[in-house]
Each structure stands twice: as C-alpha cells, then as structure tokens.
Symmetry: C3
Subunit: 304 residues, 3 copies
C-alpha cells in the first residue's frame, strides 16, 4: 500500500532527531494564542526547544502576525472575547499565508463557547489537532458516533474519532495519553515515551501544541521539492511528540516531584540530544488496514 | 457550650490528615476564577495536592461549570470586566447547586471596582472567605467599626472583623499571617505552621484559596449524615490551611531562596504525608467565650 | 563638561549597591501593567529584590493606584483593550503625581496597536524606556532615521536611537543586550554583566522593567535636596540593570539550563549582596563628546 510505504517507520525516529536539529538551527517564529494558565510555561517551552515564541492575541495584530509566523497555535483553554476574535483572525490569515497551525480544543464538549469556536475554526482545516482522548472524541462529535466525553478515555478509545477528524479536515490528529497516538487518518503512529509527571503539572499538554507548531514550521521551511506534505506534517507531529516525551523522561529522572519537574523539563527540552531521541524512542507505525491495533506491541517497533 | 464541644480540638489535626487522604482519593474538581498573576501557580498547587483544577472565567461557561464543580474559588486580584461577569454567574450557580465556594477579596478597600464586586458577591454567602488581615478588616468595613486598611495588620488585629464577617454571612473566615486564624464566628482555630517564604513568592496566599475549595469539596462529598455542616466546613478550612503550611515548612527546608521555594513547595504539596501533618501541626482552638486570646499559647494545643 | 562630571563614574557601582540596600529597606510599591506571559515572573522578581508588586490593570483602579505607587511599569507585550485603557489612566495619573514610570515597548514597529499606544504614552514623557535594540530603534522611528526593526540589532546599533529618544522625551533609555546600554542622551553607561540564559527564559527583559521602576521609586524617595533628578534617574536605571545582571551571573553558575535558571535567578535577586554587586560590576560611562564608543573598553572602567 502506498500509504504505508510513503513513510518508512524505521526512519521516523531519525527524522525526528534531524528535525530537532533543524528547529534549533532555524528558530521558527511560533505565534501562540493560548490560555492564561499556561502562557508562561508555553513560551518557556518554545524557547527551550530552540524556537521563538510570540504571544499575540489581540484584534488586528493577531491576523497580521499569523501571516509572518512560521507556525501558529490556537489553544481554547480560556477563550476570552477579545482572544476569540484574535483566534478567528489568526486562523484566517494562517490559512491564506500557508502558515501551518495547530488547534488545541481544550475541554470542548461540555462548554459551549469554546465548542462553538472550535467547530468554526475547524472549517479552516488545521494542520494539526492536539488534545486528550476525551477532547478528540468530543470534537469528532456526532460524526464519529456521538460518544460522550469521559476524562478516562484512553488514546486507543479515541483512535476512531482521531482518524475521522483527520480524514474530514485533512489534519494530523495527535491524542495525548500514556501512549500518544498520532494519525493522518491513514497511518497511525504511537509514541510510548513520556512520564506521568507531565500530567501532574499544568501545561504539559498545552505546551506540546506550541512545540508541534514549531516542528511543523521548521519542517515546512525545509521541505524538499516533491516530498509529500502529508508525510512531512505527520512526521513533524510525531517528531514534536517524541522529542517532548523523551525530554519528559530525562526530566523525571532528576525531579523530586511535580514542582521541580517543571524547571527540569524545560532544561531537558533545551539539552536533549538527537542521539538521546533515537536511543529512547518507542514508536510504532501502522496503516489503516491493520487498525485497530490490539496493543502497542503490534506494528513496526522502532528504537528501544 | 455546645459550640465548643461539637469540634474536639484534639481531633482537628487527625481530621486534617484524613481529609488530605480524601482529597487525593476523590480528586475534587476545583473551579478557579482567579487573577492573572497566579493562575499557573494556583493550577499547579491544586494538581499537586491531588485535586483537578479548571480555570473557567468567561461568560456563559462560568455559570455552567460552577454547577458541576466540587468547589469554586473566586479571587478578585485582577477583576477584568469579562471575569467580573463570570464571577457573578459562577457564584449564583454555586449557590443554586450547593457547590462550596471561597471568596478571596484581594486588595479590597482602597480599590473600588473589586470592593464593590466583593460586597455584591458576599450577599451570596460564601462558604469561606480567605484573605490577609488588612483585607478581612476592609471587607468587614463599617460593620466592624470602619477600621482602615493597613498592610501591617496582624491576624489577631483582624480577629474581631473575621468573627463579624463569619456571623454576618454564615462563612468560615480564614485570615492568613504568621499565625493563620480560622473562625466561624463562634470557634476560632489558629495554625502556627508555615514559613515566611510563602510571602516572598506571589500566589502563596491566593493558591491557598483554591486548595481550601478542594478540601471543602472533598469534605462535602464525604459528609456523614447528621454531621454538622458548620463543623465540617470549619474543619475543612483548617485542614487546608494546616496541610498547606506544613508543606511550606517542608519546602523551606530544601530551598535556597524564594525562587527555588516555589517548585519545592509544589513538590511538598504532592508528597506531604498525613503523618507529617499530624506530627508537625501547631493548632489551637478557642470558643467565643475565651476570646480574644492573648496569644497562641492559649487554647487547646494539639500536636507538636 | 558639567554633564560628564555630575556623575562620577567611579561611584556608579557603589551607588548601585547602596540603592539595592535602599530598595530592600523601603520596599517600594511597584504598580505593574504588564503582559500576560510574564505577570507571575515579574511579580516574583519584584518580590525577590525586596519591593512590593501590585498588578492593577483594570479601568478606574489603574489610575487610582498609579497615584499612590512608588513606581509604575507599563509593558505593552499583550495590550488587551481593557489594559490599554488602564495604561492610559495609569500614565496620566503617574505624570500628575510625579510617580516615576517605565515604558517597555515590546515588539513595537511591526504591530500597529501597541505601536500607536506607545507613541501616545510617550507624550507623557516616561522616566525610563526599556527595550531591546530593535524596539528602541523602532520606537525612535523616523526621528532617528526611520531604520527598520531587526531582531539582530546590537545595543550599539541602537545607541543613536536611544540618545534621540532620551533627549526628545527627557527619559533615561535602557537598551538590553549582551552589553546593556543606558543613556540620558548626554551620558551613556554600559553594563557588561549578565548571562545568555536571561534570553532563554521568557520575562528576562520584561521583569527588568519592573525592577527598574522599583529602583527609580526608591531613589526618588531618598533623593537629597539639591541633587540632580537627571543624575538620580540615570543612576537608578544603571543600578537596576547592574544588580539584575549580576544576579543573572550568580544564578547561571548554579543552573543546569533555562528551566532551573528561573528559580535560581529569583533566589539570586533575593540573595545578591551589595558587595557582590561592587565586586562583579563591569560598568563604563562616557559622555556625549566621546560617542560613539568603538567598544566597551573605552570610557572609564569601573569595578572588575
């Protein structure tokens, strides 16, 4: 199957390591429109990975800035009125300019203002969508069978919703969890790296959205002619998740708890080497035909 | 006196330790409407203690969310226009749903917008009010004698204002200071734990408001039939203060200054054990008849 | 030349050390209107240096508070609509009350809302303006030759723009960079202290604006009769920069990366001694006649 063969699973982790170098060399400008709880941590995560954050979330300026940024994150965690307008402007401008952008639909489903905005923004076809299992299931909504939101949903429980969203909007969908799942609707990667401390600190998921925008921006800027954009976007989203979760492992090893984990994690984002990424990677890749995977042991295991 | 005997002072610390376990087991959902300076730290403190924070501070969503949360914090530190409306919605919904809620009247008195809002919200009878001595004195206002705001006010200077507020609104009032004072207007507990580093870091007081909402939520959920709600709310507020200030002591012991204290304190909130709470507790309890207490040495000393 | 002789370069560092003591003794109240990314870090930096932060950025209250604060910072990083009104009120009130105030024109130039607001506020003649080279060049705009914004601009490239701004608005202009440049348009100090980690963490520049407001406030409060206000404001701005960058060096020595640098830097702000400031200072001072300086080696070298 061409879908399966266009990305060589054995090379996903080496491509991730190469993209990490490329982010650090090119320092992509990442436009973040994000919630008030995690702005500081998100900006620091983007800086730590080697990119340049800019939090521009007011009317007029948001649209202008999205057109010149390398990547855009729109996170709906605390969608104040002025920020909602800014998000609309930024997404429209990113679409026009071809700026890759990431939608993080925080807590969609039960809360109507953000749910309505998320669906409005979806129409602009995000490059990537990042959320936890419950958010992805809620966002897919009736189209995927109308399952309700459950904070305990596992990433595999969200696999069908993720593929549905991906195929509907032409997006890469990344579902965060103990095992991260990343799909473009045809191919599904699973990343088994990470540490539970990422969930004991606010912003652990939100900042990954911004780091994903950085990797997508760097990937687009370095795209070789003739390469598939679908392959490149899927690879960049996997790379962001892999580098991020490997850094979490390095940080957890030197942390006493969730408080000291935060600074240690930022250190690790700055210090993690491409070699460590390759060495620690626990990535699998399956195509549509082999889904649903009964466990992470299925598929081509890459790395350690 | 029945007031005095309904809480056994010798059991306040063991009840605090048990509530800490209960918060960790039940992970109450804490709805926070708080100021822009401390959102991140507050969310991390709530996560660290074992509860689940959600910062929902926009119109429409705030009212919906307060009805399903286990507890609500309304902190008036930076009351932007949209947030003021959200606070009004949330408090009304919490009152309707019986969700316990905490009012933190940051800097009331001199600043008119928040002062006016604080008095409007007070009419909904907060479950608990948490502030420093000056804020509690200012909030009590003319009713307590019209004393002015003085940042140097001690918690004992605020004792009368605190009792007045408590009796007027049926609230537990917690006054933060070197010795924390918690009263329901009839019984007054004093907690002599803590560390001055809590005041050298922003959010040291504000995050306690959210942790108090977590303890109140967990306490309400586990209430045994026939138990006095007044007793339970006073005990839960004391428990939050005691666990929080004991964690501060543990963190101060491993901190080089106010910067490293922050992460260490979050670690300590996550790692403090019920046994450490009991062992380190410096809690006294007096009834109305024995007030004003000349010093913390009066009353029934519990723990070390 | 009187300009040159009114500040003795050999005494700039001892004056800085003395002002550090004075900030800690007097705990000036610093009113901060700043961006949503750095509010927490800024408040913690102000607390760490020994001053008292207050983030008051809503209408009505901002004007009232600026009149009673010791110093004011207006940072334009995320100028939401309500905050823009608050900034206008606060600057007008500070001007009326004689409260020293600092303008940080984050990202002016390309982004029209903040650029327009910056020029509006400039008319009130800020006590100090703090930015990076690109921002200072952009703010000086056509008046300094209309040079465009370039994130790679060095502080020396901004020297002419800084002097132009300083003379036009009667402000001290501080340009952050590997070597910080501080000028009142006639005298130019350069501070070669600091560490690159300050730029790998968000808020490294922004918080310096608030610390500068603290030093200006403490300096005004302790001004001796007959002393030149121009001398005092230039000295206070140099002192803030020097203390801040020396603290960065102390923190870098105990940090593993940009994450652990943050808490370590706050510790260092709290713990740095006047003696360490004098011992580590790398400050030069030149008058207008000797500008432009070919390198930092020119001018009177003070300290080590």
């Amino acid at each position: 199957m061409s879908d399966r063969l266009s990305i060589d699973p054995a090379h996903l982790t080496t491509a991730s390591a190469a993209l990490l170098d490329h982010v650090r060399e090119s320092a992509p400008l990442v436009h973040c429109i994000t919630n008030s709880v995690v702005t500081n941590f998100t900006a620091n995560a983007v800086l730590a990975i080697g990119a340049a954050p800019a939090m521009v979330d007011i009317r007029v300026e948001a649209g202008l800035f999205a057109g010149i940024a390398s990547g855009l994150l729109v996170n709906l965690g605390t969608p104040h009125e002025e920020q909602r307008d800014a998000a609309r402007e930024a997404v429209a401008a990113a679409s026009d300019a071809g700026t890759p952008w990431v939608l993080d639909p925080v807590a969609v489903g039960a809360l109507p203002v953000r749910t309505s905005l998320a669906h409005e923004l979806l129409a602009h076809r995000p490059t990537a969508i990042r959320g936890n299992a419950s958010e992805v299931i809620a966002l897919a909504g009736a189209g995927a069978g109308g399952r309700g939101v459950d904070a305990a949903d596992s990433t595999d429980a969200a696999a069908e919703a993720a593929r549905h969203l991906a195929l509907t909007y032409g997006s890469v969908v990344a579902v965060s969890g103990p095992i991260d799942l990343i799909t473009d609707g045809r191919r599904t990667a699973r990343v088994a790296n990470g540490d539970a401390l990422l969930t004991r600190m606010t912003g652990g998921g939100c900042a990954l959205g911004a780091v994903t925008a950085a990797f997508l921006g760097a990937s687009r800027a370095s795209a070789t002619e003739g390469a598939s954009r679908a392959d490149a976007d899927l690879t960049a989203t996997v790379a962001a998740t892999l580098v991020y979760t490997v850094a979490a492992e390095l940080a957890a090893a030197v942390s006493a708890g969730p408080g000291t984990f935060g600074p240690a994690f930022l250190d690790a984002l700055a210090l993690v080497t491409p070699e460590q990424v390759v060495e620690r990677a626990r990535v699998t890749l399956t195509d549509g035909a082999s889904e649903p995977a009964p466990s992470v042991a299925t598929g081509a295991e890459v790395g350690a």
